[in-house]
């Protein structure tokens, strides 16, 4: 908590930008200035490149930077989860080594949690980390790893103890992705994009000082990462947009977007594109049909209510309440909205819903919505998992009876992965 009001924050940011913004710098040079000022990540603590402001205040700062026409710190991808996790659980070495590169955008991150055999059951990870000659040797297979094909570092959850119970045998590491022994394969999705990767890890090496958690305590650290992931998935996420201006810095920034945003290019469509419903209906000449209007209004209402609920959660955080499982509520709401929007876009499109690519409205945008929304109720924890979390953590209802958590992991039944 801080005593700065929103108004004060806005004024200070503007003053800083006025004094320092220079689009003739290189992107990295500018971001180093920004990061040193604390305005690159104002929600980071003061001793680690930030200003110790509440998380929601950092949205205000971003808004000012955008409105000023300047460029902020790098925000896209897993980097924000990496930053949050390292701040919460990393050693000073980790903070020193990685936070700046995360914020300047010089280094890219990925998250190596899911495995072919453990999707919803992340704690069932069976990738092994064995300690040999002072180093960790990693073997296994990860999946759904966004950005793995261009990542410099990975957040890795691996099993270090097979005789401990499931949640006590995992350790959390930072792994260098630019090493032999790491093979990345792109996975094509039903919508034609290939945003995710399979990562095959064979005798990859991690130095002992790149261990983030205590031995066997990796699950606790992973929950921090996951909580931040869910909070980002409430449908309110916004993506950086290119800025068409001549200076060099903008060019570098736009290239960064092209490169790093590639896996996310269809993400707006997986939300159902509620913003396009009215425009779509008007374009198809169906906005006056009473039955269609009812359906459009239902989806708009749902989306608005979800947005307001997210804002209530953020406002609560601003009042100093800790971030809690309300991310699960937002994520679940986003699934409902996306599914309903898909249905209504289909209804509006009529026969055109059979078409794709340039034969579909807005150069394929509608078609992409129709085959992308199923992702939103799966990625980042299925709807079913979110409901488990809400009922157990928010509502404090009894936990599901478990048969996998009270015996050595090696004895727990699991999927056989090819």
């Amino acid at each position: 908590m801080t005593d700065m009001t929103e108004q004060q924050v806005r004024e200070e940011v503007r003053a800083f930008l006025k004094a320092n913004w220079d689009p003739n710098l290189s992107l990295v040079a500018w971001r180093n200035i920004l990061v040193d000022s604390g305005w690159g990540a104002p929600h980071y603590p003061k001793e680690w490149l930030g200003k110790g402001l509440p998380a929601a205040m950092s949205l205000v700062v971003d808004e000012e930077i955008r409105e000023f026409g300047a460029v902020g710190a790098a925000k896209m991808g897993i980097r924000t989860l990496a930053g949050a996790t390292i701040l919460a659980h990393g050693s000073d070495l980790h903070k020193q080594t990685y936070l700046r590169g995360i914020l300047t955008g010089q280094e890219t991150w990925c998250q190596l949690f899911s495995e072919p055999g453990s999707g919803s059951d992340l704690a069932g990870a069976a990738t092994r980390a064995d300690f040999k000659d002072g180093k960790w040797i990693i073997n296994g297979q990860k999946v759904w790893t966004t950005s793995a094909h261009h990542a410099d570092f990975g957040l890795l959850l691996a099993r270090t103890d097979w005789d401990a119970v499931k949640h006590k045998g995992l350790t959390y590491f930072i792994i260098d992705m630019r090493q032999p022994g790491i093979d990345v394969n792109q996975l094509k999705q039903m919508n034609g994009h290939a945003s995710f990767n399979q990562v095959f890890i064979t005798d990859a090496v991690i130095e002992e000082d790149m261990r983030v958690s205590e031995l066997g305590e990796g699950w606790k650290v992973a929950t921090t990462t996951l909580m931040h992931e869910r909070r980002g998935a409430d449908g309110a996420r916004r993506y950086d947009a290119k800025i068409e201006r001549p200076e060099q810095l903008y060019q570098e920034y736009n290239e960064e977007i092209d490169h790093q945003l590639a896996p996310y290019i269809w993400y707006p469509q997986r939300t159902g594109r509620v913003d396009l419903l009215i425009e779509h209906a008007k374009a198809e000449g169906r906005y006056e049909e009473p039955a269609i209007r009812q359906e459009i209004a239902k989806v708009l209402s749902m989306a608005k209510a979800a947005e307001w609920t997210a804002r209530r959660a953020h406002a609560a955080q601003n009042l100093g309440k800790p971030p809690g499982p309300e991310g699960s509520i937002g994520k679940l709401a986003a699934s409902h909205v996306a599914r309903a929007a898909n249905r209504v876009h289909t209804m509006i499109a009529g026969a055109n819903a059979m078409l794709t690519g340039s034969d579909s409205w807005m150069d394929g945008t509608i078609a992409e919505i129709l085959v992308s929304t199923p992702a939103i109720s799966i990625a980042g924890g299925t709807d079913e998992i979110q409901r488990n979390i809400i009922s157990e953590r928010v509502l404090k209802m009894p936990k599901e009876m478990r048969t996998d958590t009270d015996r050595p992991f090696r004895e727990v039944p699991r999927n056989q992965v090819g």
């Binding site: 609560a316 979110q386 488990n388 509502l395």
Partner: protein, 372 residues
């Protein structure tokens, strides 16, 4: 728009909640809903005099406290939660708001202080036997001979229409404009007939007017605007009342499944029960967000306030009845009995689906006022 309540507002809510827990427990609600009058004059007096709720949003110069729609909505949310039987919605939310928006200063000075003090119980009569709440549905005519207006026609679905001493109503002037009028219950040609309310905690009446003398509130061309503002406030407050009821049902159901044992375990431990409870939380939180947004949009004077208000009415009413359906289901057979309290909120939810306009109608109104 603000997305959290201030500390003062939270404290205000706590005071009302404690008051209603003490003064309107369900045992008392049951007695009142089965009784003739439909509310407890002693509680009404206490609510007016001790808490000053009837004065809440009435301007200070007319004996009120001058608060906004948000505070009024907090009060109705708590009343919905407690299922309070009282003419608060009719008198304070509907009639007082109409007078505030329509009447001249003299008229306000004459009418509002007694409503603010709770001495006068008023209501607002809009809908007619056709059941529409929009200005276009109002067919009742007001003729004029000199300064005196005369009313001819029938109002229906009038909230607390049997108990109100002052009737504010909307009728069609000879010039085609809508006029808002005030009529005393004792005026000539007023015939009141109770309607059989499915929800006995919300009493309705039909009122026939036969050449009844009435006072026009404000000018002969300002009725539409005044009614539009009044209607938005009514609807936002109803949305909050419904959200309060839905949350109560959700909480009670959760408590029940946490206590009830079947198959040797709490039924709260079954995954489908847990997921249903999670869905109910999601639904009710979204409903609360919409209801609060409606009140805030009015206080902020947002251009699209009518859209937000109608969005809230449509969404919250559907969540309320859905939550009530889940609540009965989670209680099982006992939830279907008269002696279980769930049914009381179920009926309120059912009636609220259509009170002040149903979801389809509000969705259409929402789109017509949509600007985003």
């Amino acid at each position: 728009m603000q997305f959290s309540f201030s500390a003062e507002q939270e404290e205000f809510r706590s005071v009302i909640r404690r008051f209603l827990e003490a003064k309107s427990p369900t045992a008392d609600v049951r007695k009142l809903m089965e009784g003739e009058v439909g509310y407890d004059p002693a509680v009404w007096k206490s609510l007016s005099n001790d808490l000053g709720l009837t004065a809440l949003h009435i301007p200070e110069e007319y004996g009120g406290a001058g608060f906004g729609v948000t505070e009024l909505a907090i009060a109705t949310e708590e009343m919905g939660r407690a299922l309070l039987c009282a003419p608060f919605f009719a008198s304070s939310v509907m009639a007082a708001t109409a007078i505030v928006h329509a009447a001249s200063d003299e008229q306000k000075a004459a009418l509002l202080p007694d409503i603010a003090s709770g001495e006068t119980i008023a209501t607002l009569a809009v809908a007619e036997p056709n059941g529409g709440w929009d200005a276009g549905s109002i067919k009742m005519s007001a003729t004029t001979a000199g300064d005196v207006y005369r009313l001819h026609g029938t109002k229906s679905y009038v909230l607390d229409g049997m108990t109100a001493g002052l009737i504010v109503l909307a009728a069609r002037l000879a010039n085609g404009h809508l006029g808002l009028f005030s009529v005393a219950d004792t005026s000539d040609g007023v015939k009141r007939t109770p309607l059989k309310s499915m929800d006995p905690t919300r009493r309705l009446a039909r009122i026939d007017f036969d050449n009844t003398p009435a006072m026009l509130l404000g000018s002969a061309d300002g009725g539409e605007a005044a009614y539009a503002k009044t209607f938005n406030t009514m609807v936002a407050c109803l949305a909050c009342e419904m959200a309060g009821g839905a949350e109560r049902l959700r909480e009670d159901s959760l408590e029940y499944v946490n206590m009830r044992v079947q198959f040797g375990r709490n039924i709260a431990s079954f995954q489908v029960t847990k997921h249903k409870a999670a869905d109910m939380l999601l639904d009710v939180e979204m409903a609360k967000s919409a209801a609060y947004a409606a009140a805030a949009a009015l206080d902020d004077g947002d251009a699209d306030a009518s859209a937000v208000v109608s969005l809230a009415k449509a969404s919250v009413s559907e969540t309320y009845i859905q939550t009530a359906i889940h609540a009965v289901q989670m209680h099982g057979g006992i939830g279907f009995t008269y002696d279980n309290d769930t049914q009381m909120w179920f009926k309120r939810a059912k009636a609220s689906e259509v009170f002040l306009g149903d979801a389809n109608w509000h969705r259409e109104r929402m789109l017509q006022n949509w600007s985003a």
